[in-house]
Amino acid sequence: MAIAVFFVAAAIAVAGAIGVVTFRQPIRSVLSLVVVMIGLSILFLLLSAQFLFVAQIIVYAGAVMVLFLFVIALLGPAREIARSRLRFQTWLSALFVLALLGLIWAMLQGIQYRTPDKADLSIFGTVQSIGIGLFTTYLYPFELTSILLLVAAIGAIYLSRKKVDDL
């Protein structure tokens, strides 16, 4: 059963990813990315990461993708022209990407798996265990992300404000 779920979710994710790259209209790329997010979130659930499953759906498929859709609606859905200024760019990219895939593949062959830590699978990845980790051992990085989000929000407001004062 879990194997079937894995392959269906993986097929959804890969199909969505190919859609992201091949669709000519940006709005279709964004909607394909939502499909990828949903496929990946199913895999997160399979890997007993319940909290990240919910976070993926709400934060990514919900908030970030809606932000992308808003910006595309704001800027107008321009169709992309398939020409390129650099010659052979597609072939060079294909070569580079094949090399990258080969490199990652070679790296995956060399992985040596350590024996797992002792952990209770019934509480692994629940909201409670994530919260305990986040607010005890990793409190400092957690607080730093709040500063990061604040800086990002201020930066976005600064960049997109109306420039009434032409100094």
């Binding site: 390129s84 593949w105 798996y113 990002a152």
Partner: protein, 109 residues
């Protein structure tokens, strides 16, 4: 020692890693061949998601929660990156229309 017993069936961690590698590579293709700056940002999000899958797969393999916490941080950073990147794009588009990212070459980088 890479088998994962999930719901009575036997999966393997390497399946998740291979899927993640494929998604990351597709994202790289998108960044390299697409011309629209918005689509390039979308492809970067795809690559970040592929890496998150690796982190969570290893977290489950080692039964160590730190991978999931790191993936959570990475989701936060990706959200911040999307916000700032889109704000910069909106600012550029206000001055002129950019159909091709190669048009933005004033800095001669």
């Amino acid at each position: 020692m890479s088998g994962l017993s999930i719901g009575g069936s036997q999966l393997d961690t390497s399946w998740f890693l291979v899927l993640s590698a494929i998604l990351f590579t597709i994202g790289t293709v998108g960044v390299l061949i697409r011309r629209n700056p918005l689509v390039i940002l979308i492809c970067i999000e795809l690559m970040l998601n592929a890496v998150n899958l690796t982190l969570i797969a290893f977290s489950r393999q080692l039964l160590n929660l730190e991978g999931q916490l790191f993936a959570l941080m990475s989701i936060t950073v990706a959200a911040a990156e999307a916000v700032v990147g889109l704000a910069i794009l909106v600012d550029i588009f206000r001055v002129r229309d950019v159909e091709d990212i190669d048009e933005l070459s004033e800095l001669k980088g």
